[in-house]
Amino acid sequence: MDRRAVFFFAACWACRELTLHTPKNLRYVGVILSIWLAILGIASLIDNSSRRKNRPHRTVAPVHIESPHDD
């Protein structure tokens, strides 16, 4: 899994938990921030998967091992 996405989701979870302990008049900060971090986490996941898809497959060239008895 994308480590950056994990970081954003963990931060989102922390904000979600903190929202419950935030004074009522400032609770919207926690709500907006947790939604924002979740969006960044999802965007990071999508970015990571699209990078993986676009990465060219490495093809290993066949290695010819010369035998000392060839000649």
Partner: protein, 395 residues
């Protein structure tokens, strides 16, 4: 004796503010120095000026939160304020000596709590006020991370579009950049004038949009010339001046107000001002002068080392990090929430670094912030309580 103690504690509070400016100058101008936009001395003068100007722009809500929102005002005395300040100072010195992370802002809050509890017990703590400060210890760096990351992504998209040879993406990027810059500059300009004049209510939206449109057209014309990455880099170097100024403004607003809060609490305790009154102008001016002078006198030595440590931060990243931190500080200052300016800029730099990849961030710094969250308030509270009991036993 009481009068001497009263003035001595005010002097200690202003020295605390001076030291805060001395240490935190590096946060606001390190990137400007690192990218050689300004020399260390020019950068320090630039930051100190905006630290001072902040008094005209922001109100004194943070000061009120410190003075009236942490412990019950009735128990505040010269001894409590002295113990709170000494607790914060001792804790900062102790952590610096032990190599542990700390935050002056949180140390001050911890000091007030510790001294207050030592005097009258746990019931004097205003839980609601402390909860507000406590949750924003964590929120403010996270807002910095989210804002820094988002700004960096948006700005990168725009710059990539602007540097394309021709076609629709280039035109769209030009229009978006011109509109964003026009709106931001127009709102910032009108907002600044509005705040300085202490006008209440909303801005004249029609006027703001009309000026924004004119500025956007001017930017559209200027952006036609932008073709090479070196030109974009040059523009970001110039923009760093504004982002550093904005951060210094936010730093002056939030950190100077903490000292104002301490002095206000002292004035209320000494019955020099009424409990419900605003911060006197001389307190506002002296706190901003102290933080500005601290930045001016000490900052440049730290900036020299910080500036060389941060060379990996490019002008574009510097602008995004400082803007993100400045916006966070503007919001918290306007809402009357004391936060750590160092943790806010650290969060913003982490956000900008994360936009490249997670390993681009120096996680050692982030770990230090985490430890500072856990240690500072309880530690400084304990030291302040010990100082209060010691002073009480002696007197």
């Amino acid at each position: 004796m009481t009068t001497f103690a009263f003035y001595a504690v005010i002097a200690i509070a202003l020295i605390f503010d001076f030291v805060n400016g001395f240490h935190d100058a590096a946060n606001s101008i390190a990137t400007v120095v690192a990218t050689r936009v300004l020399t260390p001395l020019q950068a320090v003068v630039w930051a100190a000026s905006f630290n001072f100007i902040a008094f005209a722009v922001f109100g004194t809500k943070v000061a009120s939160a410190i003075a009236k929102g942490v412990v019950d005002q009735k128990i505040i005395s010269i001894g409590v304020i002295f113990a709170a300040l000494m607790g914060a100072v001792f804790w900062n010195v102790l952590t610096a000596w032990l190599g542990l992370p700390s935050s002056s802002s949180h140390a001050l809050v911890g000091g007030i709590v510790g001294a207050g509890v030592a005097k009258a017990g746990g019931h004097v703590v205003i839980i609601e006020g402390l909860r507000k400060i406590g949750v924003f210890i964590i929120y403010s760096p996270l807002v910095g991370v989210a804002l820094g990351f988002t700004l960096m992504i948006v700005v990168t998209w725009l710059v990539v579009g602007l540097l394309r040879p021709n076609g629709l993406p280039r035109i769209l990027s030009q229009v978006a950049t011109a509109c964003i810059l026009g709106l931001v500059l127009s709102f910032a300009g009108f907002g600044l004038v509005h705040a300085i004049r202490r006008q209440h209510g909303h801005l004249n939206t029609t006027m703001v949009i009309a000026v924004a449109a004119v500025v956007a057209v001017l930017f559209m014309i200027a952006l036609q010339r932008l073709r090479k990455p070196s030109q974009a880099n040059k523009s970001f170097r110039a923009m760093q001046l504004f982002s550093a100024a904005a951060f210094s403004l936010g730093h002056g607003a939030n950190d100077a107000q903490k000292t104002m809060g301490i002095i206000l609490a002292l004035l209320i305790a000494a019955k020099k001002v009424k409990a419900g009154s605003d911060v006197p102008t001389w307190v506002v001016l002296s706190a901003h002068t102290a933080i500005g002078l601290g930045t001016l006198f000490g900052g440049w030595r730290i900036v020299r080392t910080m500036g060389t440590k941060l060379t990996k931060l490019q002008p574009m990243g510097g602008v995004c990090a400082e803007t993100a931190a400045a916006l966070t500080l503007f919001f918290t200052s306007a809402k009357g929430i004391p936060v750590s300016t160092t943790h806010t800029i650290t969060g913003s730099i982490v956000g900008v670094g994360t936009s490249k990849r997670l390993s681009a961030v120096n996680w050692g710094v982030a770990r230090r912030v985490l430890w500072a969250w856990i240690l500072t308030i309880p530690g400084s509270a304990l030291v302040a309580a010990a100082v209060y009991w010691a002073v009480h036993a002696v007197s």
